[in-house]
Amino acid sequence: MDQMYLLDVGKLPGQQSMLIFHALARMGVEALVIVSPENPLVSIGYFQDAAKEINLPFCRENGIPFMRREVGGGATYLDENQIFYQIIWKRSNPRFPVQMKRIFEEFSIPACETYRKFGIEASFRQENDIVTQGGKKIAGEGGGDIGDCMVFVGGILLDFDYETMSKILRVPDEKLRDKVYKSMKENLTTMKKELGDIPPREEVVQTLIREYEKVLGRLEPLALHNRFVERMKTLEKWFTSDRFLVKKTRKIPKGIKIKGGVEIRYGIHKAKGGLIRTVEELEDEKISEIGISGDFQFYPKSDLATMEVELRKTEFEQGKVRNKIQQFYDVHHIQAPGVLPEDFTTAIIRSQSEGPE
């Protein structure tokens, strides 16, 4: 096959760690890039709108840059404790699969093997997660067509800043942010969590490169030439511009996908008695966790938290949710002026049609 390059570039300033694969793809350079961001940044997926997905005031106040990328997936917080692997190849290269499913399966193997070499049993799970034996996600991956190339990207999680991740996301109600944080902590893991400590970065990098060479063949080391840097700088202006960051779409975010089968949905509904906001964690189409807030009245007040607990394990289906809430109202003699079980149900179930304002 054609020679592929290896760019093991260490750490690059914020956006450059993401811009590098965009630049190489446009320049038709087939390569494996191993890189980490030198400073934290937020990246949103191609089909996301920064204003709807990210807590922009928090990012600006804390000097966290943000950009939209040309591959799929959701909003994510990136920092030096992640080692990105980015593979770029020409669409016309017959050496590479064309089916997305095969691309994800084949190019996830090196990351899984890297984790295994450090004692973490990791495996690829359809459609695009790497998970541990315990079912926790330990890498997120995505891909896309850029120019005449295809790119596949992912990241080894040495460690993860769950708190900042939950803060950079736009949520419908600040009171519900804690639910998002909790869900991430429970469902995402890292090398540090699994092993008790972070292994030396260079050892992880060299293992990752060796494993990728088993799949891609021997890679020719290539330095980060000035022409790549210049291209990245040109791209940076566009990728961080308002025109590119703010998509012209009426689609409102449903929530966040945490891993396969687990997602967080945001709900909102204006009942006669006030606005209801919900954040629910769904696991395999059942409510595993839910937070409800708003400016409605609900007596006894303490029973709202109890109702949240009661809703756990309820199937995410309109009839089942409504029956559970109706039953709760009856048993606990709930007084909620202008707020009926149907209203809570609408907020929860209709979470795909409305989102954060």
Binding site: Y46, V71, I103, E127
Partner: protein
């Protein structure tokens, strides 16, 4: 016609990027094929081209996402985009459910239709191409 379980209506024209077009008067309707939507899996987002945009045959002009992969939507013929299927913004799965009808993507006012239709496939040419693609995909398993 049916090719190994994949449907390809005979009255359509097809390109090598797995997009189709149907001539309706002075407008061309386009979308992606049954083969492509099955390969992609569930489509979760569609970025439609802007109305008024000039498109070129064989060049990407929009995008869609399935399974965290962002793929390009290609223009089957050159011309100007005159209408888009806005239903796809809220329900991109229409492409999976009906790639040749409810899942149409956009319409073009063609600029050189007679010439460019000759670059597209139908009948035996199409069958040969699709069979080679099926073999290519099967070899990856």
């Amino acid at each position: 016609m049916e090719i190994e379980g994949y449907t390809f209506p005979d009255d359509l024209y097809y390109d090598r990027e797995h997009y189709w077009c149907r001539v309706e008067g002075n407008v061309v309707v386009t979308g992606t094929t049954d083969f492509a939507q099955k390969m992609a899996g569930e489509i979760v987002y569609v970025q439609l081209p802007l109305i008024g945009k000039s498109v070129t045959q064989g060049k990407p002009c929009a995008a869609l996402e399935s399974g965290k992969w962002v793929g390009r939507i290609y223009a089957v013929v050159s011309g100007k985009v005159v209408e888009v299927n806005e239903e796809l913004e809220d329900n991109p799965k229409l492409i999976n459910q009906g790639p040749y009808d409810q899942g149409w993507i956009f319409k073009i006012e063609p600029s050189d239709l007679d010439v460019e239709l000759k670059n597209l496939m139908q009948g035996d040419d199409l069958a040969q191409f699709i069979k080679s693609e099926i073999i290519r995909v099967a070899a990856e398993r």
